[in-house]
Symmetry: C2
């Protein structure tokens, strides 16, 4: 069994690394192999409180993880500003990379990461977990069905959560030297990804930031929105914020159908996930009700979406390691498109809502 | 019983008048008394196929309805371009007015209608039926609860339906000389009303039309969107269209809670209506699920919302007629605010998305 398992090293003891550590444990083809932190004490504590095997390596630096020849892949949950340094360093050591989102501070930095990954034959995947939920595939089948959904015409995505005062003061996501993209890079990443996903990853022609962006004192975005516009007339809007109650909503309207869900980033429940669809909705004779009624669909997720992600990533890594396959380009391509649109929204925000072309 | 019933005359045989005729029949304090059409034949047919009492008056003109001294109130479902003429004529004959939306081609016209109504002591109410659904009151209680919802921060409203080729060619809502406001006046009216309703009818400081407005060959809007911005930083977006599957969605995010529903204009079912709320939503320890889960609320509506509307309108009319009360100003005030914002969105659309101030 052990030769088929991808050995993970984790860089840093971020809170999100706890969830991903569990996912690595749950994935049948992955194993927790090493943890590195600038503090050996923190690394030791992290390993012991997150079910690392007793044989796991505990390191007092990130470099030590990268220098370990038995580490196949690293998970990088470091602040965005550190991605370029550590993703490049990991790729140069031929470690495959599961990278937290946003993947970089801008697409230029990400391209440098990509270049080194390609040069070293390293698999890169961003840690957008919901992409790997089995529900996502089912929803995509619906969106791709020309009879049930038709062509996407408009979409709205929302991701907000109510950060507490400590978060708004101290979290890395409000710090210009750490996660400088703020709510746009964090919650907005998911909105943009969802919109691109629904649009078959066709890039919009241009984007415009909506008025009303909220910046903190340090100039980091803590709430914003944008509209995205495609050549074929498709439109999408999104809103992301640290200032409103947790909301994760997608409304997608096609020529023939509609899709709704309210927990697209993190399902309400771990073991099952639902969504609602409607096709060729009309009214009763006197317009006093709908015919047909929308349908509710529930998809079982015995393996949580983050473990599905680790499994898929590890499958690709194993295929490179054991079978001599080349790295799968789809995943970094999706990361790059998401970052590219995110950058454009940020520029539009800075230019007071001016349309920013993506062509 | 009969002296307490408000006697309705209906101007024209519009399809929507069938639904409102039934509502008048269902309302305990209203009765179908007269129908007028430019064609006596059409009026006769309409009366017989919509359960008018045998004693109902059938007229071959709208004027004849207004000249009937026993008509207390009129329902005006005529094309928007005719509202000013017939609402003014009705008010001058001291008929109370239930007026289809949009209430006028612009707020200037509506102000003329209002002036004549006030001069003649006539009650005016627009026919935005969902405002009278008992669910609406329950949702408002939630939105007004500072512990459960807090302050509204952002909102998205969608109303689209997939018009068939005949509609897109021939319906009054695509004709510049009839319902010249097109999808904005029809579906957009509801979006704007919902947003204002959630914002306690505080007017936004400015609105901006989103790019991507779709016009038909005659220059009538058949799809558009806008963002609305308040002094306190609240933001809202909406999208309305004749080009996508029937969708009626509200997503409202407050500092402490969220509200969702997908059938705000016309409930899925006539006898009950639901909505979903969440308060202080958070995550399980490893962020693998939500705590607490959102709550689903169902409100019974034994009397359909349009009959609730007729009942409320008739109650106000009776109070004027029998008790010497003055007309209730709240309803025309809400109509005016909705039309005012709608006008601003239209101007912004025409100016390529320039911000239009409402102050």
């Amino acid at each position: 069994m052990s030769e088929t398992q991808i050995r993970f090293g984790i860089l840093g003891c971020a809170e999100i690394a706890r969830k991903v550590s569990r996912a690595i444990t749950l994935a049948p083809n992955a194993t927790l192999y090493a943890i590195g932190s600038r503090s050996l004490e923190k690394a030791t504590k992290f390993a012991s409180s997150n079910n690392f095997p007793e044989t796991a390596k505990i390191y007092g630096s990130y470099d030590a993880v990268l220098d370990d020849p038995d580490v196949d892949a690293v998970y990088i949950p470091l602040p965005t500003s550190l991605h370029i340094k550590w993703a490049v360093a990991a790729a140069e050591k031929k470690k495959h990379i599961l990278l937290e989102k946003p993947v970089a501070l801008n697409v230029g930095e990400f391209d440098k990461i990509l270049e080194v990954c390609e040069k070293n034959g390293v698999q890169l995947m961003d840690s957008t977990m919901w992409m790997h939920n089995p529900r996502t595939k089912k929803m995509k089948e619906f969106l791709s069905d020309s009879d049930k959904f038709g062509d996407l015409k408009s979409m709205n995505a929302v991701f907000t959560f109510a950060a507490d005062p400590d978060f708004l003061e101290n979290d890395i996501r409000v710090k210009p030297d750490l996660d400088a993209l703020g709510a746009l890079g964090d919650a907005g990443w998911y909105c943009i990804r969802a919109i691109l996903w629904a649009a078959d990853f066709q890039l919009p022609k241009y984007v415009t930031a909506l008025p009303g962006t909220v910046f903190n004192k340090a100039g980091v975005i803590i709430a914003c929105g944008a509209s995205l516009h495609w050549e074929d007339g498709k439109v999408a809007t999104f809103h992301c914020s640290f200032l409103a109650n947790l909301t994760m909503t997608i409304t997608a309207c096609g020529t023939k159908g509609s899709l709704h869900l309210h927990d697209y980033v993190i399902p309400f429940e771990e073991k099952q996930a639902s969504f609602s669809t409607a096709t060729e909705s009309g009214f009763t004779e006197l317009v006093t009700g709908w015919v047909p009624l929308p349908s509710q669909h529930t998809v079982m997720t015995d393996v949580p979406q983050e473990a599905c992600m680790v499994t898929e990533f590890s499958r690709l890594v194993k295929s490179i390691k054991n079978d001599g396959s080349v790295a799968e380009k789809m995943w970094p391509t999706l990361s790059r498109k998401t970052q590219f649109v995110l950058d454009a929204v940020k520029v539009s925000t800075e230019k007071g809502g001016e349309a920013v072309s993506l062509s």
